[in-house]
């Protein structure tokens, strides 16, 4: 048994027009007529086939769009991926339908109505307007959806007669050309049942080879040429904006649907994404390199969660300033890998802690920049400013390193005389600013590596009382110049 989903508003839904709440219609530029209207447009009295001048008279705020075949196909692919969770056999039936085979899934889901309920819940994110049809073949299921007669079958569906399957289907609703439909209606054939009662030879003569084959396929007498849909290896999306976008936050609206589609793609392919890039095409730029700025969004632990990627994208975009309006946008996955199945352990929250920590780091890096969060790495250098280096936090590196670097340290008693705060750079001072309390402690570095003639590789450090009472860590270099290098805070 097959289940068909027909999406009458697919052409508009593919253009992301539903969320804006405006009256929108598709037009045929050559004929200057409306092809398709959304609900808001219909509410103002517009309908398909209406001329453009009349439409603008009824609704001066009407927004017009043109059909985008690529966007429609991408929308069909996403719907197919969404419905893939209910059946292994999902077929795209252009231009606006998806067929899924459900007979083999009845044992798992229990009943056809259960599959229908779950499918409706899953489709909520992707489409608001769709019609469902059931039948023993894909073609007939589509016809039932087109005629808005779903015929929900019971458990004994295998015993149903062919006449029951095709009852109540009017020929005028079928996806046949209007010329053929008018000819058949002219001969008095209004329903599929009236055609079914004809002898085969007569039926063939009235329908012609093409329609006769379709009729045969619908009844299951001829094998349907259905090709199951398989998700592609990778995911990319391009959007050419109708108007130039001047604010980064305005990019969020189209990005939301793209990221949701991307995460659905990842979930179906059982992949985790680690980074993706948004390439913008600017309207103009004085610098050639800046005509296509690339925004990279990454999360080191990987995820297929749309809310997480949306949050990181929003954080990144709030910090970005556009030098020129954006004309188009491309989204590509940079890195994705097979997702790992995790074993749950009620008494070990380490995995959860690692996940939380990495999400936190990604969040901070997305808003504040890659180098915004750093952790110190201790080295065996002698000069204080070289003894620790602050590196960008990478959780994976930390895990690999493990343990403490305490073993590398030596001369601990000397370190008892070191300050808690260190200045970012040694700051030149004058001797009358302090009074020496303890010292000196000589610290030398490898003179052959030293390129900094100002601070010198040989220093005599002192603990000194600053003029305002604080305890300072100061040093004098070979040239006799004094520097402040820390506070005993």
């Amino acid at each position: 048994m097959w289940m068909a989903f027909y999406f009458p508003q697919l052409s508009l839904e593919a253009l992301d027009t539903n969320g804006c709440g405006n009256a929108t219609a598709l037009i045929n530029r050559q004929k200057s007529k409306l092809i398709l209207c959304n609900q808001q447009a219909r509410a103002t009295g517009l309908k398909e086939g209406m001329s453009l001048s009349l439409a603008y008279t009824l609704n001066p705020d009407l927004q017009l769009r043109e059909k985008d075949a690529r966007a429609e196909w991408e929308q069909l692919e996403i719907l197919a991926l969404c419905l893939n969770q209910f059946s292994a056999t999902v077929c795209i039936s252009p231009p606006r339908a998806i067929l899924i085979e459900v007979a083999t899934m009845l044992q798992y889901f229990g009943s056809v109505s259960e599959i229908e309920n779950k499918a409706r819940q899953a489709l909520n994110t992707w489409s608001e307007n769709y019609i469902i049809g059931f039948a023993k073949t894909g073609k007939l299921a589509l016809w039932r959806a087109l005629s808005k007669k779903p015929l929900l079958p019971d458990k004994q569906w295998q015993n149903l007669d062919e006449e029951v399957w095709i009852q109540d289907i009017l020929i005028k609703h079928l996806d046949w050309s209007s010329k053929h439909i008018q000819r058949l209606q002219g001969m008095g054939f209004n329903t599929l049942n009236s055609l079914y009662r004809l002898p085969t030879s007569l039926l063939r003569r009235h329908l012609g080879v093409g329609l006769y084959t379709q009729f045969g396929q619908a009844l299951g007498l001829i094998k349907e040429p259905l090709t199951p849909y398989h998700a592609p290896e990778t995911f990319k999306r391009e959007r050419l904006f109708e108007y130039e976008v001047e604010s980064t936050l305005a990019l969020l609206f189209p990005l939301k649907s793209i990221i949701q589609s991307m995460c659905l793609f990842l979930q179906r392919r059982r992949q985790w994404m680690y980074a993706f890039e948004i390439t913008l095409t600017l309207a103009w730029s004085t610098n050639k390199a800046e005509t296509s700025p690339v925004i990279r969004i990454q999360h080191d632990l990987g995820s297929d969660s749309a809310p997480l990627w949306l949050e990181l994208t929003e954080l990144k975009l709030t910090r970005l300033t556009l030098t020129a309006p954006v004309r188009s946008m491309r989204v590509d996955i940079v890195k994705m890998e097979q997702s790992e199945e995790e074993s749950g352990d009620l008494f070990n929250n380490f995995q959860q802690q690692t996940r939380d920590q990495n999400l936190f780091i990604s969040r901070l890096q997305a808003r504040l920049g890659e180098q915004s969060i750093q952790t110190p790495k201790l080295t065996n250098e002698h000069l204080p400013e070289q003894a620790m280096r602050f590196l960008s936090v990478s959780l994976i590196e930390q895990k690999a390193k493990g343990g403490s670097s305490l073993r590398k340290l030596s001369r601990n008693n000397d370190l008892a005389h070191r300050p808690a705060w260190q200045t970012k750079k040694p700051e030149q001072i004058t001797p009358n600013q302090f009074q020496i309390l303890e010292g000196p402690e000589r610290i030398s570095s490898a003179w052959w590596l030293n390129n900094n003639a100002v601070h010198s590789s040989r220093r005599d450090y002192y603990i000194a009382r600053w003029f305002d009472g604080r305890k300072a860590w100061v040093f004098r270099n070979d040239l006799g110049t004094w520097y402040l290098h820390g506070w005993f805070g």
């Binding site: 920590q357 952790t375 805070g489």
Partner: protein, 228 residues
């Protein structure tokens, strides 16, 4: 090691105890002390109060404001991070490691604007990943923001330390703890202007000089120059 122990669950009040006798003294000191008996005596929480933000008023940075917290951080930072957001100087990770705070537990967060700094403070306090968040606030503080930070600290049981200039002493804040620090040679004078369950206190002198015995204890496990 990272799974919640019975004691940690009990400390959060998630376990009902049939025997309500207090925790043994040795255990209490080891787990909850600030490292300074005089301060412990003033804080009813017996340790720096996780889940609250302490406002520390200082004349200028570098008078001992970090050393006051390092004994407590030694234990608290074992499974949580210590965040420094836009510090005026770099924390000496080498020294902190010798005092028992592992360098990989330290996070240094730098932001380019005050708005971002506030956002980072809120995120750090809210996340529950940090045991302590060190923040530097301007003299003029926003009430709504301080309230948000206090609520975030409370919900995640994180200690927030907000340093402000002593010029802000006359301004009120919503933080439940307020301390004034004053440098006095090798000691610092600590005065609580505001605290939970108590009145304003007189200045108490605290010595924050590094305890050399602590370093010696660490040195026993390490190769010395002569051994090499």
């Amino acid at each position: 090691m990272h799974s919640p122990s019975l004691n940690s669950l009990s400390n959060k009040g998630l376990i009902w105890r049939g025997n309500t006798s207090p925790i043994p003294v040795e255990q209490k000191e080891e787990k909850l002390s600030t490292g300074f008996d005089k301060i412990d005596a003033l804080l009813n929480s017996n340790g720096w109060p996780s889940g609250d933000v302490i406002e520390v008023l200082i004349s200028q940075p570098g008078i001992g404001e970090l050393s006051l917290f390092t004994p407590w951080l030694k234990r608290a930072s074992q499974d949580k991070k210590v965040a420094f957001i836009n510090p005026p100087f770099i924390p000496n990770a080498t020294l902190l490691e010798l005092q028992g705070i592992e360098s990989q537990q330290l996070w240094l967060i730098n932001t380019s604007s005050e708005k971002d700094a506030l956002w980072a403070q809120y995120q750090c306090l809210k996340s529950g990943l940090c045991c302590a968040v060190f923040m530097w606030h301007p003299v003029k503080a926003d009430m709504a923001n301080t309230r948000k930070l206090q609520l975030a600290a409370k919900n995640s049981n994180t200690l927030g330390i907000a340093y402000r200039s002593e010029k802000a002493a006359n301004q009120s804040t919503l933080f439940p703890y307020r301390m004034h620090l004053k440098s006095n040679k090798d000691e610092i004078e600590v005065r609580f202007l505001k605290r939970r369950g108590g009145w304003e206190t007189r200045p108490i002198a605290i010595s924050t000089q590094p305890n050399k015995s602590q370093f010696r204890r660490l040195a026993e496990h390490q190769p010395t120059l002569s051994a090499l």
